[in-house]
Symmetry: C2
Subunit: 596 residues, 2 copies
């Protein structure tokens, strides 16, 4: 059940697609060049291979459980978490001002992928802490920052996001948890929150809950929601822990996957009120939460890539080992390893192409994030922000949807063995299914893509991206290479399909919302397909250069083949999806409600 | 967690697509008209709703387990099985000569769907018994028939299929279990069989194992495999049970799904040899097994339809109940049930269209089976056999692959609740994954489709089917109905894509096997997509008739919408798949083996 970080592919993306050399020219990132990336990724790969990955199956067999008063995590998790934080891995992307290492997301995202490949259940704890850090950095007062940030960034304490309530899932307007102002400026928080990842556990001394609630008298709907810090233990002025706060985990869920990650039901205020501290201004909670969520959505997209990679590695190993039947082309004298069978190759290539395509997409998006936050030129920041914002729903939605297909193929490659839990392939299939749901379902990502990212600017950002894709097509055609030209052909068809859909979306969202939202998820899938394919097209161009060939000819040959496979077998889906969206909206909503 | 049999849809198919009126003209089926079908299906629906379905979630929570000496099944299974057999449900399709009811497959398949919707784990036991009955009817001696058939057909005893060994999965040539001839004409069987469904359980008094083994001195490979009956308890001359035979269950598997169905490791001959009785002639075992397997493959396809139906019903219920967010078209004044959201409708329609399409395909295939076995005219029998044979890998492969997508959407409709086991949607997702694996993986079905069903006759059967599809297109176009014309357009594109692929397959299987088998599964998916879409096109034509409209206008309106949706959103995938197969073979196998 080993995991080896795909360092070569990650570094290829970081060097050639994310262009770390350009990021290293941004003030503050001077030390974050390719060498740093390589050193960090190598260390990270070792930790994940040796310490975190071996606990993954253990977590499935021995899930975290509610012990009556709290939650006991899977054996080994506490110790591994200690090693993780002592190695400074929680602090990677956070500001030096609060003890962080201040590395760019371009590097951090690759480390995040490794951690999630190694152990998705484990990785959720640091991921949620990252979210809490982000919220406090964005909107926390100096006092909140000084009280919480260092301990969160070191990993000594962990964080959570408390959004969902039984009646308020995708629809946060329905949040009912209430906060009563107190004379000392704090609030008493009352309510029930569900699906709280690592809402209770035994890996850290304190848990800092970020909680959406309504201050008494606040407006109805999303405009009356505020954000609060509710620590599990109160923090004294000297930073030491004080009284237990009135927030308690009453149960954890029995889930299909990520079983080691405790998903808590938290009860706030059953014993007089949980003390909460307002983050930023009243009634702006959703806005702050969305900042956290954007980061979390990107991170969940990376989880999709991560679980796909792990599933791929296991499938390849099995396909090399398992001997069954003679190859159809007679290339072996007798039965051979199943990796010789064309259909097994098709499955492995599909898994690989999806994974590499999404990784390349996520890596370029991370670079845009870094430039959008740190570049000295405001116009460059703005351009990169537009790119990043467009990519977030694709990284989240497409990478997680593809992870369902990849982990299913991962089981399939194993045949009957895949259905036996001890083999391990089934765990990835079960784990992956949460990814298209949490931090906003695929439909919620698609709403974002349609509404804020496409209709709002009349499709301008989308069309600008299409123009960049067209530029890559030209370069591919001009290369004289047959694989490149084949990729260009598929890119062109997919791009044209994409532009048709963008025009359909931009032109109809107001007048015919049902028609547009009937195709919102297919639009997301088409857009993600194109963007991932585009990055593989760019990768192919790099791989053709003499410099790249000299650097690692075998790797570059594999990259070219993967890009070609992606184009022939995945990008080729795009035109059908276009028809489905542009010509098929009517039949989505035509059925009478009582006929279902 | 209720289940209601989709009687209207089943009877629509049986009446209009499978044409039960024609089947009832076949000698022996005189009583098997529409009225019989309706009466049987109604009764069957009640049993499954009231008795079998309520045990489904129980089986997931309390799987069958090895108790040290045997297997204890899920609480309630034994009693339910008693009701099932006492109701005569095991005997439905089997010959009256041995106590069966002799009903056509056209009716039996619908009952099989219900049982599997209600409880797939439970349904596997009767399904395997059907297989054993089929094998004995095909090749058993009169003595074997008289000893075993009545008890199997009544359900008093159950049957198993013993093919797989640790080194012999898809590749049965590698079977090592051996059979030593004894002076009395029996054999002593020695070996280990794995993945034996209901290989041990406590629901019946005896278990009749059908076992593939090699007689000493038999040729290598598949031509040296014979088929044996190995009963758990020896049967005395008077039909009563005698000594325990030397076949023992040493363990059962810990699986991702169908947990109540015990998957046994059986040890034959550890205490001197298990007594076995040769079925038919030596070395023809694989041939007999394939007869059983064809029936079993069809039945597994039906399992895919069944689990998709159950998943759909649950998702619809949740979508009606769960209130979240205001519809985008403002059609409700406030938040409403999520079934009002276009993307939820898209998911439900996708689930429904796949399920109805595959059900229609399976129903027509069942009618062909009945005609191929029982029609008095040899030419009619032959034509129907060719149709049925072509459809078996599609019913199996396409219906099970679609069930993965449908059950995944079934979880997705539930949002976070879908990932919580108690909700029940996750069980279908886990259960479904075995369907693309057992009784031959999708790749094995695709090999069959390519080799025996397409290349062998130069694509003639496939092209004859395409001509029939074209005929339906003409009728749709001539109807003057816009939905019909839209469906015709998509059918035409899919049919042309199909014919291109058939020509590619027929023309290249010998000369370029790798290229053809690189696209074998996509070919299967394309063919299944077309055939299911074709049947929905035929259904649409029926639904447009004044007679049908008069019969049930609301049902017919829903059928038309479903057919239209299928065409717009599922058939529209066909052209991309064609490109992938015909133009993309090279990139499937181009990757250097050590680059994976």
């Amino acid at each position: 059940m080993s995991y080896t970080a795909p360092l070569k592919d990650m570094l290829f993306n970081i060097e050639h697609l994310a262009r770390i050399d350009q990021i290293a020219q941004i003030p503050g990132f001077e030390d974050a060049g390719l060498e740093t990336a390589q050193a960090v990724l190598e260390e990270c790969g070792k930790l994940n291979r040796d310490v975190i990955a071996p606990l993954n199956w253990e977590g499935d067999k021995n899930p975290s459980f509610h012990n009556g008063s709290g939650v006991t995590t899977t054996p080994g998790f506490k110790e591994a978490y200690k090693q993780f934080t002592e190695g400074g891995w929680q602090s990677l992307q956070h500001p030096a001002e609060f003890g962080g290492q201040g590395l760019p997301k371009t590097i951090g995202a690759a480390c995040g992928e490794m951690l999630n490949s190694a152990n998705m259940s484990f990785a959720l704890c640091p991921m949620l802490t990252d979210g809490a850090i982000e919220a406090l950095l964005t909107a926390g007062s100096d006092e909140l920052k000084s009280t919480y940030l260092e301990k969160l960034i070191s990993g000594e304490w962990t964080g959570t996001m408390n959004l969902t309530e039984p009646q308020a899932g995708s629809d946060l307007a329905a949040v009912r948890t209430r906060a009563e102002p107190q004379p000392d400026g704090t609030f008493k928080v009352f309510g029930t929150k569900i699906y709280i990842t690592y809402g209770e556990h035994d890996m850290a001394d304190n848990i800092i809950h970020l909680v959406l609630a309504r201050v008494q008298g606040a407006p109805e709907g999303v405009k009356g929601i505020s954000l609060f810090v509710v620590p599990k233990f109160m923090v004294k002025a000297d930073g030491s822990l004080g009284d237990r706060n009135d927030v308690h985990c009453v149960s954890i869920e029995h889930k299909m996957g990520i079983k080691a990650s405790p998903t808590a039901v938290l009860q706030f205020g059953d014993h007089g009120g949980a003390t909460g501290f307002l983050v930023g201004q009243e009634n702006r909670g959703l806005e702050y939460m969305f900042i956290m969520m954007n980061a979390a959505r990107y991170a969940v997209g990376v989880q999709g890539i991560a679980i796909a990679e792990r599933s791929y590695q296991r499938a390849v190993q099995y396909a090399r080992d398992r001997v069954q039947s003679r190859p159809v082309d007679g290339s072996l004298p007798a039965a051979g390893p199943i990796i010789h069978h064309p259909d097994v190759r098709r499955m492995l290539m599909t898994m690989r192409a999806y994974t590499e395509g999404c990784r390349a997409m996520a890596s370029t998006a991370a670079a845009a994030y870094d430039a959008s936050h740190h570049h000295p030129d405001a116009e460059v920041r703005q351009q990169n922000a537009a790119f990043y914002e467009f990519m977030v729903p694709l990284v989240k939605g497409y990478s997680t949807e593809m992870s369902l297909e990849v982990t299913s193929l991962g089981v399939q490659v194993h045949g009957g063995m895949g259905f036996i839990e001890e083999t391990g392939a089934a765990q990835y299939y079960r784990d992956a299914k949460i990814l298209t749901i949490y931090e906003g379902t695929t439909a919620i990502q698609a709403n974002d893509l349609v509404g804020r990212k496409t209709a709002r600017d009349g499709g301008q950002t989308a069309k600008a991206l299409a123009a960049q894709v067209a530029q890559t097509e030209s370069e591919l055609l001009a290369s004289g290479n047959t694989d490149a030209q084949a990729v260009a052909k598929r890119l062109k068809a997919a791009r044209e399909a994409f532009v048709d859909v963008v025009e359909f979306v931009a032109g109809n969202t107001k007048a015919h919302p049902n028609d547009v939202f009937a195709g919102s998820v297919p639009y997301l899938m088409l857009a993600g397909n194109l963007m991932a394919g585009w990055q593989l097209g760019r990768a192919l161009l790099v791989a053709l250069t003499p410099e790249a060939q000299a650097q690692d000819a075998a790797f570059m040959a594999a990259k070219i083949t993967t890009a070609r496979f992606y184009a022939d077998h995945i990008l080729s889906k795009a035109t059908g999806v276009r028809d489905s969206i542009v010509e098929g909206a009517g039949s989505v909503t035509a059925m009478a409600l009582d006929a279902f």
